[in-house]
């Protein structure tokens, strides 16, 4: 008989109280369950192959509204589970034929998962983004027009000054971003600097000069927020944005050196 469903893997943990998962809606709207093996507990859900099989999945991943729904559902489950202990989130769309296959993966990768779980236990991920402050480059407006100058020349001169001012402001912002990342790294147990999100969609928000992730003790939450606030005060060329706490998405990858700068 051809199966009509598959198993979606959200995360690997050391244990989750099953009763706390009751009523939690997973990807595809279905319930969330557990697969135990090798002293590990995988958080899973059942998904229909009609939507999550190889061909429909590839197609659906390109459908942004579908992807948004699935990504939020996946994250919601990972985030919920993270409240009960260390969690290693799996990348979106890790799908197995059945629960037995998930159990086999747990056994096969027991050591790897164990190391990752140890690394993130008792810790949370903070996201800190920095944007160059647009107003910090407005120096060009201060360049006075010369009376004898032709309008075209005056425009070019102003424009040149404006661009030079902007470049200086950007350099200052980049410098501040480096410093912020260094300081936050010292207040964290691990730090990653991710590629900044693209300005074409950030648009009004400004130019992102830092997209950092920091793994810090869950108990030191207030302290980390305070450090961010102090850094924001000390660096007027950038605007800081703190998000979190996140499950430790950025600190479970197995590839050494990945995204580390």
């Amino acid at each position: 008989m051809a199966p009509d469903s598959a198993v979606w893997l959200y995360a690997v943990t050391r244990g989750v109280p099953a009763e706390r998962l009751a009523g939690l809606a997973g990807v595809g709207g279905g319930p969330v369950g557990l697969v135990e093996a090798a002293g590990l507990v995988a958080v899973v859900g059942t998904v229909p192959l009609a939507e999550f099989g190889e061909e429909p999945l590839a197609r659906n991943l390109e459908n942004l509204p579908w992807l948004e729904t699935v990504a939020r559902a996946h994250h919601h489950v990972v985030d919920t589970v993270a409240r009960f202990g260390p969690v290693v989130p799996t990348r979106l769309a890790t799908v197995y034929r059945d629960g037995a296959r998930v159990g086999a993966v747990l056994m096969q990768r027991q050591a790897e998962f164990g190391t990752a779980l140890d690394r993130v236990a008792g810790r949370v991920e903070w996201g800190v983004k920095a944007y160059a402050v647009p107003g910090a480059s407005a120096t060009a407006a201060l360049v006075p027009d010369r009376v004898d100058e032709r309008p075209g020349l005056a425009y070019l001169r102003r424009r040149r000054a404006q661009l030079a001012g902007r470049e200086l402001a950007q350099q200052a912002a980049l410098h501040s971003a480096d410093q912020v990342h260094d300081v936050l790294g010292r207040h964290a147990e691990a730090a990653r600097r991710h590629t900044p999100q693209d300005r074409r969609l950030i648009g009004d928000t400004g130019w992102m000069v830092l997209n950092g992730a920091y793994l810090a003790a869950a108990a030191a939450t207030a302290e980390f927020a305070t450090v961010v606030r102090e850094l924001a005060d000390r660096h007027p060329t950038i605007r800081l944005e703190l998000t979190g706490p996140w499950p430790p998405y950025s600190f479970v990858a197995v590839q050494a050196g990945e995204a580390q700068r």
Partner: protein
């Protein structure tokens, strides 16, 4: 819009410092985490890495929400052959190369076309994109070697 005179803001998207139960953050933050990070293990349902790599290149652009993007007039996924739900190209290795080359040439044309009016911001954006692509290619190599 923040001006230089104002004190920089610290925004906590997920609400305060920070009880459980928050519904965090914007779609871009979530997408970059669930697609780009997290542990990568092979499932039984094969989603080619290339698919996801290309996808994240596009999705890296998504920041606030689909609606916000539409308001901003950015609805590339409705016109982009890669993202539209029309019949799909077969997955071939070339696209990554193509994508990798494209930003550089766009950037060069840009410079030529705007001689005298150098747009520093735009160049920076293109550089970042090229850098991203290089990083992508690098990571693909790492993954492929495994």
């Amino acid at each position: 819009m923040t001006s230089a005179q104002q004190s920089p803001a610290v925004v906590q998207n997920s609400g305060q410092v920070l009880p459980a139960g928050h519904e965090p953050a914007n779609l871009g933050d979530i997408l970059e985490r669930v697609l780009d990070r997290g542990i990568i293990i092979a499932g039984d349902i094969r989603v080619s890495l290339l698919d996801i790599e290309l996808l994240t290149l596009k999705l890296r652009l998504v920041i606030a929400s689909v609606d916000t993007a539409r308001q901003m007039g950015i609805d590339w996924w409705e016109h982009d052959p890669f993202l539209s739900s029309r019949p799909r190209r077969p997955v071939e290795p070339e696209p990554l190369e193509t994508v990798r080359v494209r930003p550089a040439s766009v950037s060069a044309e840009d410079v030529a076309g705007r001689a005298g009016e150098l747009d520093a911001e735009r160049l920076t954006a293109e550089e970042l994109t090229a850098e991203e692509l290089a990083e992508r290619a690098h990571r693909r190599r790492i993954v492929d070697e495994r």
